[in-house]
Subunit: 249 residues, 2 copies
């Protein structure tokens, strides 16, 4: 972004968006210097853009001098339509699953080549996971990711295998052929598993939310401690995903 | 915004944010012309900024040519911290209330001089309301608004009475003295009502979520059909709000 300084109009917009891009689930609060470093902008430019975003309400300054995303961006972001109807349809099912299991319940959608978590219900008793609302999960290493991948066509699979299947744990499937075979299983059974492939000690089962158009809108998953737990929970997850699909259709 | 064209650096950022400001709950999808009109920008400028936001993922183009907020802004907005912990603490209580009542359950926070709805659970059977996630409600005409207002100090009350108390229905309290007396009642009882003051046919009861610091973080409300329903539900709403307050403290 910092390189595109020749077209003044274009570069200012892109620089402003580059400042926003610095923030993510792993970096929810940043200093001015961190924003400058992550965006590649000079400190003075970063300071000016941060101040403009602050004036607007898109960023807030913490007492320790760091900045974080402000309520204005939350309000505008909440207008994004993918989540609105889907979340409202899914939440009752998610809470039923949570009440029945007390485990982590996750709702994800496809964003580029990741599963984006748009809703999560958990408790302090559930197994710790790496998932946060707004966070991204690899498609090949998670139950929700594989549920989306299995019903999304060859092109997406080719694209993520071309990019390389990152090894998250010793159990992650990193061979394209083995992944393809697993996805064929998912299409047959309607549920996808991750056996400690994303996080050691965490096992998941997920089912796709498929619309009447045959398109996969989302995946609903449970993360639990043991393989026997997720085996037992698979029918519940699949039933809830079918219920959500019927609701949004 | 359109007038500030003399400082090129400043104006581009502000114009970009002005494009985003065109979208709200009442206007989730807009044509290029509508964006230009609402932002006061020339069509050519609006088109360029829309395209930059599209390239980034902040806007999406619909088949009918209109634009709407994209998933990229949702992801960044979800990093706003006010909502994160509060929503996660509140959702289980909200679902319990919903299961017990099947009525509209709302969670709101103070944003400037409005109650901003950050979570809502409803069903097709519940009474229709004007509330959407990300939508703003007047403080003086709603249960959740009065619950926040009653515990927010004199300054906020002065500011909204100075701006004028808009009449939403024939039952809206528009006299500052009567509003102040109502708020004194709310401080005594711990619950706030709206008796068709926002929407004819809709009655609400709400309770503040007050932290250990004495600050009101949010208000939890139920909107129902009848005065007797909300009278009966008041203790449940208050109990749930106390539970949320304990959870976040």
């Amino acid at each position: 972004m910092a390189g595109r300084t020749n077209a003044p109009g274009q570069s200012v917009s892109q620089r402003l968006l580059a400042v926003l891009d610095c923030f993510d689930v792993a970096h929810p609060a940043l200093t001015l210097t961190e924003v400058a470093t992550r965006s590649g902008l000079p400190i003075s430019t970063a300071r000016r853009l941060i101040n403009e975003l602050r004036d607007w309400g898109g960023l807030e300054r913490l007492d320790d001098g760091r900045y974080r995303i402000g309520i204005r961006l939350w309000t505008i972001g909440s207008l994004a339509p993918q989540q609105r109807g889907l979340r409202e349809a899914a939440l009752p099912y998610m809470h039923d699953l949570f009440q029945a299991t007390q485990e982590n319940i996750q709702l994800t959608v496809l964003e580029d080549t990741h599963a984006l978590c748009i809703e999560k219900i958990s408790s302090t008793k559930a197994v710790p996971t790496r998932t946060h609302i707004g966070g991204r999960l690899p498609l090949h290493a998670t139950g929700v990711g594989k549920a989306i991948l299995a019903f999304s066509g060859e092109e997406l699979l080719s694209s993520i295998t071309r990019a390389g299947l990152a090894r998250m744990t010793p159990y992650t499937i990193i061979q394209p052929g083995r992944l393809a075979a697993t996805l064929a299983e998912v299409r047959k059974s309607g549920v996808a598993y991750s056996h400690e492939e994303m996080t050691l000690g965490a096992v998941s089962v997920a089912a796709p939310v498929v619309g009447l158009d045959g398109r996969v809108h989302a995946a609903l998953g449970i993360v639990a401690h043991s393989r026997s737990a997720v085996d037992r929970l698979a029918p519940a997850v699949r039933t809830a995903a079918l219920g959500i699909a019927r609701w949004i259709s």
